[in-house]
């Protein structure tokens, strides 16, 4: 193992590469000696957490902005007189106001959560409830301020991450799937279904589904930025072709929302995987870089 040449370790400084084992505290405070490696370098960790904060604020402020006109359309235009394919609204009923979520031809009663919910202690027509929006109270102007602040941070942070990852070959080596990875997709799917997490040498690399998920979410963030810019009338005059690329201004707005939903899905799966794979070890590796290699209990492999 000392001569291990897994790709993630290749270019580490000697001080780190020569480091074979370490005393670890496990989740229960027990001290064990196990092999580990320096999995996440500082720029990756820093940009990861800045990104997480940005995503949180962008989602919260985005939902507050959405509440100003909680309807989604397809095409160049769309307003009250057009039929939305998705909307959150409130209607009167015999039993009082109801929150209605409309998706295509279907309508769902979502009273109390979507369309009609309590904010500042009072029930009111409101797309998304106060506990998911930033700020909690309905305030389009300030939600936009939060949104654009974190949008700029996201862009610079994302560019820094991409530049570093390309320069250090982190992207090419650790994230871009190899041919062998692609061929291993069925097996990896099976491993995920069985909740089987890699041990030993395999734990030094991302599995192929993980690689595809990270690439996918990177693409989603790029799409978020582009669809967001396509909603800007100033930016439309700069790059009008973006309007055509996304099928119109309202389509771009809808795609912005759909991509945001997919990012939420990614975050949920990401967090579930962190918990399943060992939350202490995973979170620590993203805080100080060190990842303890889970012991191989099955006896296969080295």
């Amino acid at each position: 193992m000392a001569s291990d040449s897994s790709p993630v370790q290749e270019s580490r400084p000697a001080r780190i590469r020569a480091w074979p084992a370490r005393i670890w505290h496990d989740a229960f405070g027990r001290v064990t000696e196990a092999e580990g490696f320096y999995r996440h370098r500082a720029p990756v960790r820093l940009t990861h957490w800045i990104n997480a904060l940005c995503i949180l604020f962008l989602l919260g402020s985005g939902l507050n902005i959405f509440n100003a006109h909680p309807r989604l359309y397809w095409g160049m235009t769309g307003a009250d007189s057009e039929q939305p394919f998705f909307s959150l609204g409130a209607v009167d009923s015999a039993t009082g106001p109801m929150g209605i979520t409309q998706i295509g031809p279907w309508q769902f009663n979502t009273t109390g959560v979507l369309g009609w919910s309590k904010a500042m202690g009072e029930f009111q027509p409101r797309g998304w409830p106060e506990w998911v929006t930033i700020p909690g109270f309905q305030d389009l102007a300030d939600a936009r301020h939060w949104h654009f602040l974190f949008a700029w941070i996201l862009v610079f942070n994302g560019l820094a991450y991409l530049a570093y990852s390309l320069w250090s070959r982190h992207l090419q080596r650790d994230i871009w799937p190899s041919g062998a990875d692609i061929r291993a997709i069925p097996r990896s799917i099976l491993d995920h279904i069985k909740l089987k997490h890699p041990t030993g040498d395999a734990a030094r690399r991302y599995n192929v589904l993980q690689k595809l998920a990270y690439l996918g979410v990177t693409l989603l963030v790029i799409l978020m930025v582009l669809t967001g810019l396509t909603m800007s009338p100033g930016f439309n005059a700069i790059f009008p072709w973006l309007l055509d690329l996304f099928g119109g201004r309202q389509s771009a707005r809808s795609l912005h929302f759909i991509c945001a939903s997919l990012i939420v899905l990614f975050v949920i799966v990401h967090l579930v995987e962190v918990v399943l794979a060992g939350p202490i070890n995973e979170v620590r590796s993203m805080l100080n870089g060190w990842y303890r290699i889970p012991k191989d209990h099955s006896g296969e492999g080295s």
């Binding site: 769309g78 307003a79 389009l140 009338p233």
Partner: protein, 263 residues
């Protein structure tokens, strides 16, 4: 074991997590604070610098007649409803005059009939409300730059401040501060002299109706809907808008919205 580097790193990690936690927990309170508006202003300036750097004199997209929205949603004030405005409306705005004054060498006061005789531009453009919806309409009007040239601006002129006939009492969907106030807007000369910036008197080939800003409204096509001031009575040329109303350059600007509404 724990050397200085380790401790520094721990402080950095805990400090970072603590700072992020504080931001998340206090977002609502921070929103209402003065320092947040300073941050918001800095971000707005940065956005404007970035966009303007790329924009130059580029035109907003113009659409074809078949793209025109069947219904162009009116918003904000639907009818100023004052006695004076009602009297103008009853006479089909025959007595309405647009006054251009301030840092000009030649004050102008133009009737609608006079404006209609001036060179006009017709453009089919998309209107994007800050709330999120869009509509396409065909606007006809006098390029504002033409009027400003006729008024001959003084060298210290920087802004065109448009005052409107409506007292807006807010739009609940926007949330935030909704105090009533006289509607006004301001744009700088770069936008004022842009070829698509019009003082529009017709929508879709018909004289502007009351809900859409009769008899005269601004079209500044590379910005959001709230910049498109309706019911325009006068244009004051100034070197600053700090002393006007809330000092932020517009009705919605005084209520927290960006002065540069290109995004």
């Amino acid at each position: 074991m724990a050397d200085v580097k380790d401790i520094t790193r721990r402080i950095a990690i805990l400090g970072g997590l603590g700072g992020a936690g504080y931001l998340i927990a206090k977002a609502d309170t921070l929103t209402l604070g003065a320092s947040f508006s300073h941050v918001a202003k800095a971000v707005e300036d940065w956005t404007m610098t970035a966009q303007r750097g790329l924009l130059g004199d580029r035109l907003a997209r113009e659409y074809s007649p078949s793209d025109i929205s069947p219904v162009f949603k009116p918003n904000g004030t639907f009818n100023p409803g004052t006695d004076e405005y009602n009297a103008h409306a009853a006479q089909n705005f025959a007595g309405w005059r647009l006054r251009i004054y301030g840092l000009v060498n030649k004050e102008l006061s133009l009737s609608l009939a006079e404006l209609r005789r001036l060179p006009r531009r017709t453009q089919i453009t998309r209107h994007d409300c800050v709330e999120g919806w869009s509509a396409i309409g065909m606007w006809t009007g006098v390029p504002l730059g033409l009027l400003l040239k006729a008024a001959s601006l003084k060298t210290n002129a920087r802004y065109a401040v448009l005052r409107c006939a409506d007292n807006l009492t807010g739009e609940p969907s926007k949330g935030g501060e909704q105090s009533p106030g006289q509607y006004y807007e301001s744009i700088d000369l770069r936008d004022a002299f842009h070829p698509q910036t019009l003082m529009a008197y017709a929508l879709n080939g018909k004289p502007l109706d009351v809900a859409h800003g009769a008899p005269l409204r601004l079209r500044v096509e590379r910005q959001l809907g709230y910049k498109q001031a309706k019911y325009v009575q006068s244009i004051e040329i100034t070197d600053s808008f700090a002393g006007i109303a809330g000092g932020k350059g517009g009705y919605w600007e005084d209520r927290g919205y960006e002065w540069y509404a290109g995004i």
